[in-house]
């Protein structure tokens, strides 16, 4: 395997989060009854005409600006002609020779912490097709045209990725970005974000690319990784056994974990692209671009850099906290309430307890049962020594399940930390008196027993003794011999 290098390019299809379709007034909401969101334009009735949805253009431009790409002042919609029952017009309107976004790039952090720049060749607007339904229909195929005409932004990368993990990292980066920009909901189960992977292999050190296969319609990060790994292994095995790779379209079967040919070369379509005469070329002027630029949010990389600088976080932590706009927003609200000096504590809690609680219930951070102000209340009690970090985890669980404030939980459960030196000293005295043998052993050199005494005191105080005070007092009493 090490003699071969993988070359991967991705074509990502991001469904744009417009309310209506790209060329008709129908709604785009997911999950409606079949064909309830298809009007005469979507059904391609005789005489109907497409009218471009300006919102889709705005979103495409937003994406282009966010990856430092060129926004074309002049782009053209073309017709891609082929027959299929879920393609009502017999052609798909897409951008072909002149796309709206050209030549951008994205910085992707790899597993070893290095950053790699992946080129984005182009991003173009197009319409989605409908769906053919086979389930529950005997000897028939159902056609649901609700999805027909849904706007897509097809984001085409350069063949810049050299491993399945790089491809996944790039795809995740695009996924993060489109959600930051609020141009795509990123829902992969519903097909709002999916990709085709172009995979080839070449002997390491050779410049010329090998023949590629295109794996269609991958709708999870895991499938992208597995499909690429399978496909690369297949090609390598083929080449090593003296065969040649055929340029073809393949499908990934996640049940069998394999790719197989979708259609042979003889069946390949000649799409007969030509400019759609029903739509004028898309002209975008400077003023429009400036207006869109003004709506750009702080982008993930910029935000991560700011978090690292402003809060003294590691690049890794800052990156995790910027995985979505919502996580970043939660962290910032939390830090603002607890105080920037405690940003690291806040970061640890967001990435630790909060994140595992959310994962456990498969919740989005926006739907967290413990909102940032509430979590801040808890962290403040750690900072002011009311409770220990360990007790805080217990408090957090109660806050999560019972929807209470930190103070209410601490009060109700009597978890307030004991910081009265006299009280702690009294307990220590009692523990030492109750364990004369261990005391004698400790004093004869068994240092490790220190922990035993800490444990006994914590047990007697139900964990509420301030750990720092306890340590200091215990040490003084043991060593002082008093």
């Amino acid at each position: 395997m090490s003699d071969w290098e993988l070359v991967i390019g991705l074509e990502i299809h991001a469904q744009l989060a417009t309310k209506s379709k790209i060329f008709s007034g129908s709604a785009t909401a997911y999950g409606a009854a079949p064909n309830s969101q298809a009007d005469l334009v979507d059904l391609a009735y005789p005489g109907v005409l497409p009218v471009l949805n300006g919102e889709a253009v705005r979103m495409a431009v937003k994406f282009g600006l966010s990856i430092g790409a060129t926004v074309a002042r002049h782009s053209v919609f073309a017709r891609k002609n082929y027959f299929y029952p879920d393609l009502p017009k017999g052609y798909q309107i897409s951008q072909y020779e002149l796309p709206v976004v050209k030549q951008g790039k994205l910085a992707v952090m790899l597993e070893d912490g290095t950053v790699k720049s992946i080129g984005v060749t182009r991003a173009h607007l197009e319409e989605d097709a409908g769906k053919s339904l086979h389930e529950g229909l005997a000897h028939a195929t159902g056609i649901d045209l609700n999805r027909a005409g849904t706007p897509l932004l097809e984001i085409v990368s350069e063949p810049d990725m050299r491993s399945a993990k790089e491809a996944v990292a790039y795809m995740k980066k695009v996924h993060t970005l489109v959600r930051y920009l609020e141009i795509c909901d990123g829902n992969m189960q519903e097909g709002s974000f999916r990709c085709d992977a172009n995979v080839s292999v070449r002997p390491r050190g050779r410049e010329k690319f090998g023949t590629r296969a295109e794996i269609k319609n991958l709708n999870s990060f895991r499938f992208v990784e597995k499909a690429i790994l399978y496909e690369a292994a297949r090609q390598i095995e083929l080449l090593e056994s003296g065969g040649t790779v055929v340029q073809e379209t393949r499908l990934y079967d996640s049940d069998k974990d394999e790719t197989r040919p979708m259609r042979s070369k003889e069946e390949a379509n000649d799409y007969r692209y030509f400019p759609d005469p029903d739509l004028l070329p898309l002209q975008i002027d400077e003023a429009f671009i400036d207006a869109v630029r003004a709506t750009l949010p702080e982008l993930p990389d910029a935000k991560a850099a700011r978090f690292a600088r402003q809060f003294g976080l590691s690049a890794y932590d800052a990156g995790v906290l910027c995985a979505s706009r919502e996580i970043g927003g939660y962290f910032e609200a939390l830090t603002a309430a607890v105080g920037a000096a405690h940003a690291k504590l806040a970061a640890n809690w967001v990435m630790g307890e909060l994140s595992s609680a959310l994962n456990r219930e498969n919740l989005d951070i926006a739907a967290s049962r413990v909102p940032p102000q509430q979590l801040a209340g808890l962290l403040i009690r750690i900072v002011d020594d009311t409770i220990s970090g360990k007790i805080a985890k217990e408090v957090f669980e109660a806050m999560w399940s019972e929807n209470l404030t930190a103070d209410a939980v601490i009060e109700a459960k009597g978890l307030k930390q004991i910081t009265d030196s006299g009280a702690i000293g009294g307990v220590i005295d009692a523990v030492l008196a109750a364990n004369p043998k261990q005391l004698a052993d400790y004093r004869s050199g068994k240092d490790k027993l220190f922990g035993f005494f800490v444990g006994q005191v914590m047990k007697a105080t139900q964990g509420k003794a301030n750990p720092a005070q306890l340590n200091a007092l215990l040490k003084a009493k043991l060593d002082g011999g008093a």
Binding site: P46, L49, N81, G90, F274
Partner: protein, 484 residues
């Protein structure tokens, strides 16, 4: 006698109460019933609804509304979608298709109060120059029923010539209004591309298709075009520019008007036909216009250019007729491919199939550059030559067709000869220019047309030039025997 009146005269009679719209509609319906069987100009009659719409128009008038088209009957080419009425496009493919909506042109004329009597026969999907490709059989020319009326809007032209309605709509992709207008002796205008909405007009070649009017005079056409034209947000290629009052400028003097005589239109033109055009030029000179010779060297390439561009677009536009959602579906398809091939094979006629295949070919990998791209370049050259010509002259003039109406059956088996019928009309479509045909005399007792072409959005000027010609001549007042 009502069928001999102009739209203006009919409006005055309606306003004075001399006649009601219901009576007017019944008069034309009776004419259609009597005369259409020999002509086959209409393929769908909508009499009952027409009478009720006429009654509604009468009620509007009684309520104080006026308007030049309120209560005036018309016939729509069967290419325009009409809500609840069969819209066949002259094809077996849509023989069973009841449109669920109105085309914008239909809506606008309805809003103006015009009353649709029925729908006109046409070449299948507007592909043809003789109205012989219709699934419903050929239309006969009322001047001589052994002759074709021209196409593709042959039904609209013949119906107007036979005075089955005061006016009719048509569409013109390569001459489909002007050529049949010339061959049936009526006035026909194809406006600037983008002037009239294409929404609801079954597409043939989207970059060339444009709706227009058949009428008995330029003055009538001015009224109708004014009601049809204007920006439509549902058609991205319609142009957002105000619509002038075309009637208001009729009668303006032609003094100083510079008319260019298109040299390329006279090459090979029969002497008798050419003489009619020269007679027309004399009329214009007598009205104060100046005539100069103009040459557009690339214009003779119009036909081959058109027969690449139009089929290319049609091959894609007609893909939606697949037997899946509406229209003709073959019996018992055994699989998807069978459904497609038999539905389309049985639903489309020979000429439509020929153009779909030509268009598919010119867009195919390996041929695209040599045909489609090359044709687009020539199209640009022709457009540029027109633009340069209009820097020198106000209007261009020439014959509408090379010959008068020919025999039914004479050219149908020879597509190339048939295509050459549009040799003078196609240029305006390629360049998106408005063009108009007015009757200018007779050859062998068959009408001939004079074609005027103007720069973009010069409809007012064209209509006035035609109107002034019609004030000075009487060709447009002639009716075929038996239809007067």
């Amino acid at each position: 006698m009502w069928h001999t009146l102009s739209i203006g005269e009919l409006g005055r009679s309606l306003n004075s109460g001399e006649i009601s719209s219901v009576e007017l509609v019944r008069h034309f319906l009776a004419r259609i019933e009597r005369l259409n069987p020999a002509l086959n100009a209409l393929i769908t009659l909508d009499g009952e609804r027409a009478v009720s719409h006429a009654a509604a128009a009468d009620a509007r008038r009684a309520a104080g509304e006026t308007g030049p088209l309120l209560g005036i009957p018309l016939i729509h080419k069967d290419i325009f979608c009409t809500d609840g009425v069969r819209t066949s496009c002259g094809s077996r493919m849509l023989d069973n298709f009841i449109a669920p909506y109105d085309a914008t042109v239909v809506t606008r004329l309805k809003d103006a109060g015009a009353v649709m009597l029925g729908k006109a026969n046409m070449d299948e999907f507007a592909m043809g120059s003789s109205n012989e490709t219709s699934y419903y059989g050929p239309v006969k020319n009322p001047w001589d029923t052994s002759k074709v009326p021209g196409g593709s809007s042959g039904g609209s032209a013949a119906a107007t010539a036979a005075r089955l309605a005061p006016f009719a709509t048509g569409t013109d992709t390569g001459g489909s209004i002007r050529q049949p207008a010339a061959l049936t002796g009526v006035t026909g205008i194809k406006p600037t591309y983008g002037r009239v909405s294409r929404y609801g007009m079954v597409a043939f070649a989207s970059s060339l298709d444009q709706a227009g009017v058949f009428a008995h005079s330029a003055a009538d056409a001015a009224v109708v075009l004014g009601a049809m034209a204007g920006f439509d947000p549902k058609d991205s290629t319609s142009i957002d520019a105000p619509v002038p009052d075309y009637s208001a400028t009729l009668g303006a003097p032609l003094t100083g008007l510079k008319i260019g005589l298109l040299q390329e239109f006279f090459e090979g033109l029969e002497a008798r036909n050419a003489a009619l055009i020269h007679d027309a030029l004399k009329v214009y000179r007598s009205l104060g216009a100046e005539t100069v010779e103009v040459s557009l060297p690339h214009l003779p390439l119009s036909v081959p250019t058109y027969y690449v561009v139009a089929p290319a677009e049609c091959s894609s536009n007609l893909s939606r007729f697949d037997g899946v959602r509406y229209g003709y579906r073959c019996e018992n398809p055994k699989d998807l491919l069978d459904l497609y091939t038999r539905s389309r094979g049985e639903g489309f006629g020979a000429e439509v199939k020929r153009r779909i295949m030509t268009g598919t070919y010119v867009l195919s990998a390996g041929y695209f550059d040599a045909y489609y791209l090359q044709a687009q370049k020539v199209r640009r050259l022709i457009t540029d030559e027109f633009r340069a010509a209009f820097a020198r002259v106000d209007l261009l003039i020439g014959p509408t067709t090379p010959t008068p109406a020919f025999d039914i059956g004479a050219k149908i088996d020879d597509p190339v000869t048939m295509y050459l019928n549009d040799i003078y009309t196609i240029g305006a479509n390629l360049a998106g220019l408005p063009g108009l045909s007015v009757p200018c005399g007779f050859v062998d007792e068959l009408p001939m047309g004079l074609q005027l072409i103007g720069p973009h959005f010069s409809e007012a000027k064209l209509l006035n030039a035609a109107h002034r010609f019609q004030e000075a001549t009487a060709w447009h007042r002639r009716s075929p025997r038996g239809y007067d």
